[in-house]
Structure formats: structure tokens, C-alpha cells
Amino acid sequence: MEKRLFELMPGEEAVIVKIEDKSVFRKRLMEMGLRKGGKVLMRRDAPMGDPMEINVMGYNITLRKSEAKFVIIDNINKIA
């Protein structure tokens, strides 16, 4: 079932389907490793609930939930 990245719970892994945004932001995400078909692991939310920390390609990045809503994901797995 398709979801959006900000809905992912800590410890869940998913596959990136696409990035919806049309601005330079999508390009930035792709350049930082959020590529179509790639895996993304949700690490945690910041103490105040936003932003969130994710792991892609073996390194950690943080992005705001308002940014994460553009990332469509699928095949969610609980791994940790």
C-alpha cells in the first residue's frame, strides 16, 4: 500500500516509489540519495515531532515532515 514518507514509523523500511514535488527540492532529494526504487529506513522523529531522521544508502539525513510528504513509498517492512 502506498504511503508518504512522513507516515513511516521508526524502525520501518520502505521502497521509494517517486518524489512528487516539482521544484528544485526534488532534485536535491535525488542528489542526496533518495532515488526511485531505493530503500529508506525511518530512524526517528526529533524530540518535538519534526523534523525526522531517515537512513538512505547507508547514511543518515534529516528532513522536515512538510518536505517528506512529497515522497511516495511502498512495501513497508518493520525491520527493527
Binding site: 521544484s23 528544485v24 527540492f25 532534485k27 536535491r28 532529494l29 535525488m30 542528489e31 542526496m32 540519495g33 532515488r35 526511485k36 531505493g38 530512524r43 526517528r44 526529533a46 524530540p47 518535538m48 515531532g49 519534526d50 523534523p51 531522521e53 538512505v56 544508502m57 547507508g58 547514511y59 543518515n60 539525513i61 534529516t62 528532513l63 522536515r64 518536505e67
Partner: protein, 700 residues
């Protein structure tokens, strides 16, 4: 000696700067790229028969010109054409790091790939076949452990070898049949009309990516329409085939190219040992929902204590030292103008510069540790929710917090922000964080006029400063820094032990910059204010002084002589240029409810706000500890509780001190914003000071 220029290019946190420091050591020069606040670092090294100049370009993830850092990096590579691009990558994250490599390949500039953090690569149980990678990339590939100073010599040898070679066959990233066809079509149709500066293939790729910069620069070329038409045609064609932006296809193909190389060159050693992820373990604690804030508060508290208590300790002795020197010269030199200039102008000016130095050194040592260890990125992570409300980045918090101690190091700490707009806004709102130099004024005035409520008044002033900072940030974001295209997304790098060398270079850089750039401004300003208060010399004093002198001639007493001296100093300042200016601008301050003496005190306070206290005590002829006398004298000249509050509000907000002004100038790299900072502060201070006085009178 042959000359060569080498640009260091790599992601943030890839160890590029550590390598730069390793190669160039103290032979560095730090400046700014024209017009922006991004640092430009250059350094040199002589090796074999080469004089090599290294340029440390800003850390970026890509060469698409979407941020200032990316633009600087890309333009340097394609416009300045360094002899070699030294691409430093984090060997543990090849897949992501090499994205930039594929874009460097596109530029057609000779490059060397330095696979850094090789120790961590091995710890992870990975083997990278560098020789094979070299063949696949048709470029030298070297391993590096910059933090342990390993791999520099093979790297230099590779550099020398590459410099001596004729450009050989270059690697290309294959973008697939359709795109390659489009690239060669564009190259064909542009043949002959291409600006010679650029690599034709690179230019064609930029056109397919519809790079605005390139399209704009082709405007100047006069061939704009023809070019655009050709590019449009191909982009439309590709879109029809792929049902996607050609941009996305290029990006996918790049990752495909990288995966191909990783598949060929990287082997995972069979390892039964399950290593714990240290970074993740630390983050479980440091980023914990309940622990993160207490821990951060503790770290902040320690930073603050070390900077302002330990720094303050050294500052105290520096101040003592300059005072002793001043006394010494006072005794040695014959009385006169030159002596006064030396002691009251130059030495006290130099002293006020030096007094900042220990705090700057300690603060930057701590900030460097926080940054190099990886904790600063976590600060942004946990503070972003709050700081986002102000419209600034999570990292701004450190800068603003340090501002409460002193705005100068606070403003300098804004450098840790990656985005130019965020940096400028953080710098510009920093002066409203009430610094410790303002506290003596609050204590004096609030203590005199508010008695038991003084604490509440002082607290409210700090709070007001924060509110004005928030309001100003909003104002600036709405009217001047509307560029929202830069997203928050950033890396949380693995925790690493900072290297001593990097810490020391970092510290040295900031401190010497402070002395060079700000020292001069503060010194000149201090002397200027001294001159304005010293000239013209008053030779004839008022009847009051001559009356007292007549009495003293008959019944001499120490107390009386002191009184005469105080009266003379006060009259000297009153008749000096600064006194005249103070009287001239008195009507300006009338609506706020204070007179020319406060006006003069505020002007001298530009050197450093704490000076307001000493000027007031000179002008009112009271000792600094005689507040009851001072209060009655101030009241006699029309100061009321409300105008005292207005005065405090004005002190909080008006012109930042000279050191802060020069820090703003240095960090925004813009005269326009510095002038804005000065006048905005006066404006907002005047407005709020007036409001306090006006409504206070209505209520009282």
C-alpha cells in the same frame, strides 16, 4: 617551478577540509567569494618541481546550481578550469558520494578520485578494488585517511603524474541511447557556435537539464533563440519517450553508472562479527525524546560558562594589563595631548579589542569541536521545530544563544549555517539578543529607578530583545529573503573524533580574522570617539569651578579637589564636539524623555555599551557607585521612571557596538546590510522607547 591549480570538491563531511589542512597546513588564506558570505579557502604547497595552489571549494552534493555553494563550485570548475579537480569522497557511502563524481566527469575537467575514510571502509568489512576503479573511471583513484594523515604522499604523486600527462581519453557517463542521441544532436547543431570556454558535451547535458544559468549566459552569446529552440525540441522528444523529465532520467542513469562501478569494485568480506553502529548507539541517547534537551542544555551551559567565565578570567587580566601599561605610560610621559591620546585613546582602544580575544578563542574551539564531532548537525535536528517558527534554521540557535554573552562571537558562530539567507538573517537579528555589556547599564538604571522591581525589568528587557529578534527575522524573511527554494534536508554525519590540527587551524583562522578585520575598525572608532570628546580643549571653566577653586585656595581638602576635577571633566565633555553633537541632537531624544547627557552617553556607548555607565557618571559628576546621588541628579534633569524605562529599551535596541557592527560587516560581507543593521536598530529602539515613554506617562 611550474604552477598548478587544484580544486578540492566533495560532499559536506567528506573530510575535504581535513585533507586541505593536511596539504597546506598554515599556508592558507581565507577570504570570501565575491558578494556572498561563503568562505573561500586557498592554500599552497611546493612539491617536486611544482608550486601547487589548492582551492577548497564549498562542500556540495551536486553541481546543479540550486544553491550558492553549488553555483560557486560549479562555476569555478567550468569557468576557472583548474588543472585538476580533486574529488574527495567518503568511501563508506560510495553510492551517494559518487553522484557528484558523475557530474564532474560531465564537465570534462581532469580529475582524481580520493577515497577518504578508508579506515572506516575496512572496519565495515568492505574491500574496494582501487586499481579496477581506476581503469573503469579512466582517472587516478587513491585511498586516503585524512584524519590520520595517511595517503597524502601517494595522492601528491598521483597529482604530479596527472599534471605531467597529456589529456588522455576521458570517461563518459552513458545516459542511454535516446539521451546520448540528443546530446550528440545538440553538439552537432551547436558546432561552430559554441563558446570555446565550455566542454561541448557538458554544455549539451546542461541544455537537456534546462539549466537556467546556461540559458541565461547564452543570452549574452546572442545565439539564445537558436539554442533554446534546439534544446526545447530535444527535451520535448525525450519527455515523450520516457514520460518523465529528462532531468530524472539523467539522475537515474547516474545512479545506474555508480551501481555498476560498485558492483565491479566493492567486495564485502565475509564477517561473522556483528559490529554495533556506534553513531546509532550515541544518537539513541543524544536524540532521545526526553534526554536530548537536558543534554543539549548542559552542553550549552558548559559552552557558555567556558566562554564567558574562563574567557572572562583572561579578559580580566588583559584589561588589568592594559590598565597597568596605561598607568606606566601616564607616569613616564610628560603631560599633554600625546599622553592622553596614548593612554585614553590608543591603549584603551587596543585593550578593548584584546579583551574580546580570549572569549573568541575559547568559543571557537568549542564550536569547532561541536561541528567536527557531528553534534552541531544534531543541534539543528532537535532545535529546528522551534527555530523554524522564526523562519531560521535549527543551527541558528547556537549563534543567538552565544549572543546573550556577546554579540561578536555570536555573529561569528553564524558561519556554521550552510545557507546564505539563513546566515544573513541570523547575523542581523543577533544584536537584539541582549549581550552582557548591556547588563551594567540595566543594573545601574533599573536599580536606581525601579528598586525591588529591577529584576523583573531586566528580565523583561532580555525578553523584549528576543521578541524584537523574532519580529525582525519574520520581517526580513517576508520582505528580503523570500528565497524558499533551499530545503532543510541535511546530513546527520557519523560521530567522529575531531583532529587537533583541524581544531587549531579553525581556532587560529577565526581569531586572526577577528584581530585583523575587527581590531582595526574598533581601534579607529575608539580613537575617533576619544578625539570628539577631547577637542576642542576647554580652557576657561564656568563660574562654579572658579568659585570652588577660590574656596579650595583658602581651605584645601581632597574631597573638594576631587569635586573640582569631576566638574572639569564634565565641562570638558560638555564643551567638546561630542557634547555639542549631544546638545544638537537633544530634540531628537526629547520624545523619549532624556536629555543631552544621556544622548552623549549613548554615543560613547557605540564603542562598547558598558561605556554608557562611565560616561553617565562623568557627566553627572558622580562616582560609579554613588547611585542615590546620581538618581537625584538625573531626576532633577527631568528623568522619570517611564523615561528611564524608555532609556533602557533604547539601550537594548539601538546601534550595536562597534565590534558588533564590524562583525556584521565581516559576516554579511555587505555594506548595505551593515548600514541597515545600524539604522534599523536605532529606528526600532526609538519607536519602542517612544512608545514606552508615551504610554508610560498615560498610565502613570
Amino acid at each position: 617551478m611550474k604552477k598548478a591549480r587544484i580544486a578540492l570538491v566533495g560532499n559536506p563531511n567528506c573530510g575535504k577540509t581535513t585533507l586541505f589542512n593536511l596539504l597546506t597546513g598554515s599556508r592558507q588564506h581565507v577570504g570570501n567569494w565575491p558578494g556572498v558570505t561563503v568562505e573561500k579557502k586557498e592554500g599552497s604547497l611546493s612539491y617536486e618541481d611544482y608550486d601547487i595552489e589548492f582551492i577548497d571549494l564549498p562542500g556540495t552534493y551536486s553541481l546543479s546550481p540550486n544553491s550558492i555553494e553549488e553555483k560557486i563550485t560549479r562555476n569555478f570548475i567550468v569557468d576557472e578550469k583548474p588543472d585538476i579537480v580533486l574529488n574527495v569522497i567518503d568511501g563508506t557511502t560510495l553510492e551517494r558520494s559518487m553522484y557528484l563524481t558523475t557530474q564532474i566527469i560531465d564537465t570534462g575537467v581532469p580529475f582524481i578520485l580520493a577515497v577518504n575514510m578508508y579506515d572506516e571502509v575496512m572496519n565495515k568489512g568492505l574491500d574496494i578494488d582501487l586499481a579496477k576503479m581506476e581503469i573503469l573511471l579512466k582517472a587516478p583513484v587513491v585511498m586516503l585517511i585524512a584524519s590520520r594523515e595517511e595517503g597524502a604522499v601517494p595522492l601528491l604523486k598521483a597529482i604530479i603524474k596527472t599534471l605531467g600527462e597529456h589529456p588522455s581519453k576521458k570517461i563518459m557517463v552513458n545516459y542511454g541511447e535516446e539521451i546520448e542521441q540528443a546530446i550528440s544532436d545538440i553538439m552537432c547543431s551547436l558546432a561552430g557556435s559554441l563558446p570555446e570556454l565550455y566542454d561541448p558535451r557538458w554544455l549539451a547535458i546542461q541544455m537537456i537539464q534546462q539549466d537556467r544559468d546556461i540559458i541565461e549566459s547564452s543570452h549574452k552569446n546572442g545565439r539564445f533563440e537558436a539554442w533554446e529552440a534546439i534544446a526545447e525540441k530535444h527535451v520535448a522528444g525525450l519527455r515523450a519517450v520516457y514520460k518523465e523529465d529528462p532531468d530524472d532520467i539523467l539522475s537515474e542513469k547516474r545512479y545506474g553508472f555508480i551501481l555498476g562501478i560498485i558492483r565491479e569494485c566493492v567486495r564485502v568480506r565475509k564477517t561473522t562479527l556483528h559490529k554495533i553502529d556506534i553513531t546509532e548507539a550515541i544518537d539513541t541517547v543524544l536524540l532521545n525524546k526526553y534526554l536530548s534537551f537536558p543534554i543539549f542544555a548542559l552542553i550549552l551551559w558548559l559552552t557558555f560558562q567556558m566562554t564567558f567565565l574562563a574567557g572572562g578570567f583572561f579578559s580580566y587580566w588583559i584589561t588589568r594589563g592594559t590598565m597597568m601599561l596605561s598607568t606606566f605610560i601616564h607616569q613616564m610621559m610628560p603631560s599633554g595631548m600625546l599622553k592622553d591620546l596614548m593612554t585614553d585613546g590608543i591603549i584603551s582602544g587596543v585593550g578593548s579589542v584584546l579583551a574580546f580575544l580570549p572569549q573568541i578563542i575559547i568559543l571557537f574551539l568549542i564550536v569547532a569541536i561541536l561541528e567536527d564531532s557531528g553534534y552541531m548537525a544534531r543541534v539543528a535536528f532537535i532545535m529546528d521545530r522551534m527555530m523554524h517558527l522564526l523562519g531560521v534554521h535549527g543551527k541558528s540557535f547556537i549563534s543567538l544563544f552565544m549572543g546573550v554573552g556577546c554579540n561578536v562571537p555570536g555573529i561569528m558562530a553564524a558561519r556554521t549555517l550552510e545557507n546564505d539567507d539563513d546566515r544573513k538573517v541570523t547575523v542581523l537579528i543577533n544584536p537584539f539578543m541582549s549581550c552582557s555589556a548591556r547588563l551594567p547599564i540595566y543594573i545601574l538604571i533599573a536599580g536606581m529607578f525601579f528598586g525591588k522591581a529591577a529584576g523583573t525589568v531586566i528580565f523583561s528587557l532580555y525578553f523584549l530583545g528576543i521578541l524584537v529578534a523574532i519580529g525582525t527575522a519574520k520581517f526580513l524573511k517576508i520582505f528580503f529573503f523570500r528565497n524558499k527554494s533551499v530545503p532543510f534536508v541535511m546530513e546527520l554525519p557519523p560521530y567522529r573524533t575531531p583532529t587537533l590540527k583541524s581544531l587549531l587551524i579553525h581556532m587560529w583562522e577565526r581569531s586572526s580574522q577577528f584581530l585583523q578585520k575587527m581590531g582595526g575598525v574598533i581601534l579607529v572608532g575608539s580613537i575617533l570617539i576619544w578625539v570628539l570628546g577631547y577637542f576642542p580643549r576647554t580652557t576657561a571653566f564656568s563660574d562654579r569651578v572658579s568659585d570652588m577653586e577660590r574656596v579650595a585656595a583658602v581651605t584645601p581638602s581632597v574631597a573638594l579637589y576631587d569635586k573640582i576635577d569631576a566638574a572639569k571633566s564634565a565641562e570638558q565633555i560638555e564643551n567638546s564636539y561630542i557634547g555639542s553633537i549631544g546638545k544638537w541632537i537633544e530634540p531628537f531624544f526629547k520624545p523619549l524623555g532624556f536629555g543631552w547627557k544621556e544622548g552623549v552617553a549613548l554615543m560613547t556607548g557605540v564603542i562598547g555599551k558598558e561605556i554608557v555607565v562611565s560616561t553617565i557618571s562623568v557627566l553627572y559628576e558622580t562616582g560609579e557607585n554613588n547611585s542615590s546621588v546620581l538618581r537625584s541628579k538625573m531626576t532633577a534633569e527631568g528623568m522619570t521612571v517611564t523615561s528611564a524605562l524608555g532609556f533602557l529599551v533604547f539601550v537594548l535596541l539601538y546601534i550595536p557596538c562597534l565590534a558588533t557592527i564590524s562583525a556584521v560587516l565581516r559576516e554579511t560581507n555587505s555594506i548595505k546590510w551593515t548600514i541597515f543593521s545600524v539604522f534599523y536598530g536605532i529606528g526600532i529602539g526609538y519607536l519602542l522607547g517612544f512608545a514606552v515613554n508615551y504610554f508610560g506617562k498615560l498610565l502613570y
